[in-house]
């Protein structure tokens, strides 16, 4: 391997320091024994203990987990269905419009998405709570799922599904027995992506959460406004860990699948 020039090395270091120094400080201070956030007074895990006894935080964590699992599952189903239509249906009137509309929420300011969902829920008289957050998170994360799954479907060989039909499958069986197992890695990484998106969303959740249900990011945000406590640092460290594990798993799953597919394609090409 070629050695990096000092310029490249410096740029890389600066970039990573810029990205990760704040988080690193947060993680370090979550193990601080002192109550004062900015003064180091020795190593301790007591704030993690405190956190475990804080009912409000635990409630919020439970809501967040429920919302994340429910919304990412729903988003995966809907996003996969949308991807199937977009990739498979060929030309139909309004196709361009439809595909544009699927991806629009990706670039839409979250404030606007949140506000419009809030207005909708008020309009149809839906009490804000876990359900509304789930619906809101499903709305924006299904776009991400659809992007991930359709990029896999583009290279999916349609004749595989035709072969399944030919051998006696109904359309649904062909999808469940052939297409789904083959695109599973993309679907799984879509789910993980939706899960982490839901986990760290603040803006949309604050529009659609009600007094009966608060998510962790909202809780953290409001707690910080009253001053940063080491407990928050501990909580954030846990969240960073969960999100990091989610993202790394998603990318590993899709990378492994890509490598495997490339090997298979090369093997096929050699024939």
């Amino acid at each position: 391997m070629r050695r990096m020039s000092w310029f490249n090395a410096t740029s890389l270091t600066l970039g990573f320091v810029f990205l990760y120094l704040p988080m690193l400080i947060l993680v370090i201070f979550s193990f601080n024994a002192s109550k004062l956030v900015t003064i180091w007074a020795g190593f301790s895990t007591k704030w993690y203990g405190e956190l475990m006894r804080n009912e409000a935080f635990l409630d919020a964590a439970w809501v967040t987990a429920k919302v994340a699992v429910a919304s990412s599952t729903l988003a995966t189903v809907l996003g996969t269905m949308a991807a199937l239509v977009l990739v498979r249906a060929g030309r139909f009137p309004g196709r361009t419009l439809f595909s544009g509309m699927i991806y629009a929420p990706l670039v839409m300011p979250e404030v606007i998405t949140g506000l419009s969902l809030l207005l909708l829920f008020i309009g149809i008289g839906l009490d804000r709570g876990v359900l509304t957050i789930v619906l809101a998170h499903t709305t924006f994360s299904m776009c991400y799922v659809s992007v991930v799954v359709s990029s896999r479907l583009v290279t999916f060989d349609d004749s595989l599904e035709e072969a399944a039909l030919d051998l006696g499958c109904s359309r649904l069986e062909a999808f469940l027995l052939v297409t789904l197992p083959i695109i599973a890695p993309a679907v799984i990484s879509g789910w993980l992506l939706a899960f982490t998106l839901s986990l760290d969303d603040l803006v949309i959740a604050s529009f659609t959460a009600g007094p009966s249900a608060t998510t962790l990011p909202i809780k953290v945000f409001s707690a910080v406004r009253l001053g940063v406590s080491p407990e928050i640092n501990a909580l954030s460290t846990i969240m960073i860990t969960i999100v990091a594990v989610g993202v790394i798993t998603a990318s590993l799953v899709s990378k492994r699948a890509a490598v495997k597919r490339r090997n298979e394609e090369q093997a096929a090409g050699r024939a």
């Binding site: 035709e162 072969a163 039909l165 030919d166 051998l167 006696g168 090997n263 298979e264 096929a268």
Partner: protein, 377 residues
Amino acid sequence: MEQHVFAPWLNPDEKPLIQFKGVTKRFGDFTAIDNQTLDIYAKEFFALLGPSGCGKTTMMRILAGFEQPTEGQILIGGKDMRAIPPNERPVNMMFQSYALFPHLTVWENIAFGLKREGIPKDQLNARVEEMLRLTRLAKFAKRKPHQISGGQRQRVALARSLAKAPKLLLLDEPLGALDKKLRQETQFELMDIQEKTGTTFVIVTHDQEEAMTVASRVAVMDEGRIIQVATPADIYEAPSSVYVADFIGDVNIIQGTALKAGDGYDIAWAEGRAPLHSKREGDGFSPTNGASVALAIRPEKVSISAEQPSGVTNAVKGRIIDIAYLGNLSTYHVELEGGQMIKAQTANTRRLSRRSYTWEDEVWVSWTDTAAVLLEG
């Protein structure tokens, strides 16, 4: 014992297994299949032959049910197929790309169609084992498709489509990727399977030699139309048009105008030269006097000699331009006076026989009055 000739298409009482009735298929405003009518009979080995893009795959896909005809009707076993989805047709297709399921093993690929039928487990196992034996794949049953060779993959695809013992098997260029030896082996395997199981085969191929080897009948297609349907021998010996003659094998074409003479035609082909005589017309072709025609002669029917041959109807003088040595055969390219090129093929029977002719030699080419077919020019 009476020799039984398999030719159900000659028997008016025989019911065809497959009927295309005025089938047209359009993609947008492009016509891929143009108002075609075709009967294929049970137990046939029917070959579709034609240049790339002429609509062979489309014909297969219509039969399998992946495409609906824009106009016309498909019948299988006398039953209209319009409302029948692919999974309910008595048809299995072997895809050109094999379309093996990458997430399943060879065994599971072959068992896939049988499992959908819900047959008892021991019968299913027995059938899969039988298919594995037939295609000599038993050793690879546990492997995934990407862990076997191309030829083995092709046999898995074949086994998978055969496993359900369909009435009708569609093979889209099934041997395209194989080397010559494996290809010939598999051709014989296919014919053997066909004999044993009585399945009707429709096979698409680019390779005319393959079509000639395996087929009971051949359909030559061009731009969405079937130009001629006949046995391989008839296609070769009695092509119905210059297109077919040129597509199947090597052929010499001489353009001219016809004049009725005796029991055949005299063809005026060059200014100031004696006319050529021919007694064979293509199917249903009877040129009027002065009609422009094409004379099609296979190179192996053209003799070559140093002296003017006697007692042969057509003999023309020329000069050897090129000699192609093909091992068992030699092809001489002879330029006739006036510029017309004629290929003459002779068998090399004696090893290293001294070549009797060489470049620039003056020679005579000749053929009988039944060697050439008179076609619309």
